[in-house]
Amino acid sequence: MTGRTESIEDSLEVRAFNKFPIAIVRGKGSVVWDSAGTEYIDFMSGIGVALVGHCNDSVLAAIRDQSERLITCHGSYYNDARADFVERLVRCAPRGLERALLTNTGTESVEAAIKLARRKTARKKVVSMKGGFHGKTLGALSATWNRKYRDPFGPLLGGFEFAEYGDPQSLDSVVDGDTAAVLAEPIQGESGVIIPPADYFRQVREVCDRKGALLIFDEIQSGLGRTGRMWASEHWGVVPDMMTVSKGLGGGLPIGAALATPEVAESLKGGEHTSTFAGNPLSCAAGSATLDFIAKNDLPGQAREKGEYMKAALSKIASGHRLAREVRGLGLMLALQSRVDIHSQLLSAQSKGLITAYSGRDTFRFLPALTIDRDQIARGLEMLEGAIGEEEAARV
């Protein structure tokens, strides 16, 4: 039955999303409820946004406090909530990334990083990866691989080329003296949680250093502890020249940043790249509370420990079902690739009380809150296995 919420959205919104038939109206931690009061375990968390859980108490307190003091403050004026936030962000950033260009979203962070790279190097070319996803605004889209996102909106920006992810020789052949930056996700999320070979990013760093290109890591999905380290790049000990971050950064509120070295940052002159809402006090207060919560509760450690548990459980499911192809991931950035289309399995899992993300047509993607507990993981996986088993039985 279509409710009022669904009817209004269907008739008045531009259909940017193809929607599942559920109206989610409430959330807490790793649980959400629909308009009928049905409870769901949330393995999706808004595609990794509810990193510290839905309606985290610390974040709520910060939002309430700040909302009664000042919600908006243009970036041309200083603000204490913004200062507190950037101090925290830079403190936990990779070594050398001591400047933050605040934004509102991930795709904006990528746009900012691309502009900074071109401004700093005076070069035009940006090399990104096949299978990479960086956003759907035109600059970020130009660096995003999947043609179904790019093709309807050409012509895109010039100067963007792609290299094979995980292949340093391919990168070396594409990067040249006109390359401003190499842009890559440390772990490709939208492609299905693809982890590169162990030595790959060390070689990427070497190519960039040799050819004078900046290295930009897109940690919008993989960052903030999700993979078991604060930043996924730490798994390989490679430090970029810039890094983009968003999704879980605001505890659910929209906020993002492009972090850069001082040398890169100083190439931008005042007024060249600004934003009305970036650095607003409310999002910054939520961001500070989120970063404090991550540190205080060792969420990277929790992701590592619970991720090992969840990956082992997923592997056990996969070994018992011929429809399962492969389990991949680090920490709580996990995927189970099916051999067949998973659409009916997704709907079946939803009917059992599990919401999860996906990649393409054949891969379940799991991005739960890092605060999820083992019981919720176990119950969610039981629902998932039920959905897989039903699909298998139907295909005999």
Binding site: K130, K136, R339, V340, D341, R361
Partner: protein, 57 residues
Amino acid sequence: MNTSCTECGAELAVPNDAIVGEIVSCKDCSTEYEVAEISNGNVLLKPAEQVGEDWGE
């Protein structure tokens, strides 16, 4: 079992134990195919339908 991608000509590896409905992707151009039929050890592929729901993130 090997065949060729109709989009880019690259070799497509189809598992020997492929099942009907199995998704096979071209590693070069990412075009997706679905196993439509298996008969006498031969596999017939069809282009996979466009994914409707997709959050792309």
